[in-house]
């Protein structure tokens, strides 16, 4: 009998289409896994941002991965509650983001909901002298920053 743990391990092979170093498990969007029968699995996911255009592709990729592993019937459903937060991003996920060149979320929302002006270190050179150019970056989840020391621009995965 397949276990939830196994399914979760398989889902670590499903990348976020926009930030492929992260898996859907790293992102924290897998909310529930229901194994109804050995042939029938239901995965409940939650969107990061309301308008996230990648959710459809993510759902398709989850189905594809599990069916390729031999599960005959896979259904993927979305839930909006509780609302997704970067607090659910795994520590390995944050490390992968930094290695990829995207600054990971700098604080936990549940510990510090008021801080907008957190210092974001440059993922390239590590400097703390960085400025926010825009809170809206290449995707809904990212903001655009510039490092004042190495002068490189970089994306910041916003705390949400």
């Amino acid at each position: 009998m397949i276990s939830q743990k196994t399914i979760l391990e398989w889902l670590e092979q499903v990348p976020d289409p926009e930030v492929p170093v992260l898996s859907v498990v790293d992102l924290g969007i897998i909310r529930e896994i229901h194994i109804n029968t050995p042939d029938q699995v239901e995965v409940i996911i939650t969107p990061t941002y309301s308008g996230c255009p990648a959710m459809h592709m993510i759902a398709m990729n989850i189905k594809g991965e599990l069916m390729a592993r031999g599960i005959a019937s896979v259904s993927v459903k979305e839930t909006l509650s509780p609302a997704w937060t970067t607090d659910w991003m795994s520590e390995t996920g944050k490390a992968k983001l930094k290695a990829y060149g995207i600054a990971p979320p700098q604080y936990r929302i549940d510990k510090d909901p008021g801080t907008i002006g957190a210092i974001v270190p440059c993922p390239q050179c590590g400097s703390k002298h960085t400025t926010c150019i825009s809170e809206f970056g290449s995707t809904a989840c990212k903001a655009l920053f510039r490092c004042q020391d190495c002068l490189e621009p970089f994306d910041y995965f916003k705390c949400h």
């Binding site: 969107p47 941002y49 309301s50 308008g51 996230c52 255009p53 909006l80 509650s81 509780p82 609302a83 997704w84 907008i116 150019i133 825009s134 809170e135 809206f136 970056g137 290449s138 809904a140 655009l144 949400h160």
Partner: protein, 255 residues
């Protein structure tokens, strides 16, 4: 009116506001004063369209009968849309956009904050999620109003003109429609007129920092309204012509 009838009507007001405003913001794609602003505006549009999708989908789930989230934006007639007039107004310049966004974003922030306490679980969930995104929108529009107001003499003048030009469209935000009243009494909607003092206080703060003034309104003065009753400005027809053209020309088209 029973709960089951008034909930879809209430959801459609909210969905239409988000959808039409998102559409208008999308018109700025490629036309904003700078690249980062272009990206910001389209990001905000995406948030709004995403929120409208969640709301339209909820209506479709309630009404059943083969309705999908697409049935409402693409197949309703003009008089069935129940958005505020403020969001359907035409493009104008960047100051016009920021004035209307300022008015709308502060309104939405307080509105959705109230909606997180809705007795309807799914609506409260949609509101909780959307509120996080609205916080960014509110910051964006208020920061730009301050930059433009407390900017050059030209930016100050344009921003001041825009505030005055659209001011008469704001009282509609705080007028409870019959759908609003039913929703509030049923426990899933908020007290719309109660938003007014919260909104006014915040608007006054932003405009003061921006060195801008706003018109004084006499109690009971005439204002632009009709959106919640489906009575739109002449601009709504052009929006629907854009949005619905493909479905009307090729009924049932999908890909």
């Amino acid at each position: 009116m029973s709960n089951t009838q008034s909930l879809p009507a209430y959801l459609l007001q909210l969905a239409d506001d988000n959808f039409v405003h998102g559409h208008r913001l999308g018109e700025w794609c490629g036309h904003a004063p700078e690249l980062e602003v272009d990206m910001a505006i389209t990001n905000i549009a995406l948030d709004l369209i995403g929120a409208s999708r969640s709301l339209y989908q909820y209506v479709a789930d309630i009404e059943g009968n083969g309705q999908t989230e697409d049935s409402y934006p693409y197949l309703r007639q003009e008089r069935e849309f129940r958005n505020l007039l403020l969001v359907e107004l035409p493009k104008g310049d960047f100051a016009d956009l920021m004035a209307r966004c300022l008015f709308f974003d502060i309104y939405q922030y307080h509105y959705y904050k109230g909606l997180t306490r809705s007795h309807d679980e799914r609506l409260a969930a949609i509101a909780t999620k959307t509120l996080k995104e609205i916080s960014y929108h509110r910051r964006f529009s208020s920061e730009w109003v301050v930059r433009l107001g407390d900017g050059t003499s030209e930016s100050h003048q344009r921003m001041q003109d825009a505030i005055h030009r659209w001011w008469d469209y704001t009282p509609e935000l705080f007028k409870a429609s019959s759908v609003d009243q039913d929703a509030f009494h049923a426990g899933f909607g908020i007290d719309v007129p109660a938003l007014k003092p919260l909104w006014e206080q915040e608007i006054a703060q932003v405009l003061q920092e921006a060195t801008l003034s706003y018109p004084l309104r006499a109690e009971g003065a005439w204002f632009q309204q009709g959106g919640r009753e489906g009575l739109h400005t002449e601009h709504m027809g052009y929006i629907l012509a854009d949005v619905q053209y493909l479905q009307r020309a090729y009924p049932g088209a999908s890909w």
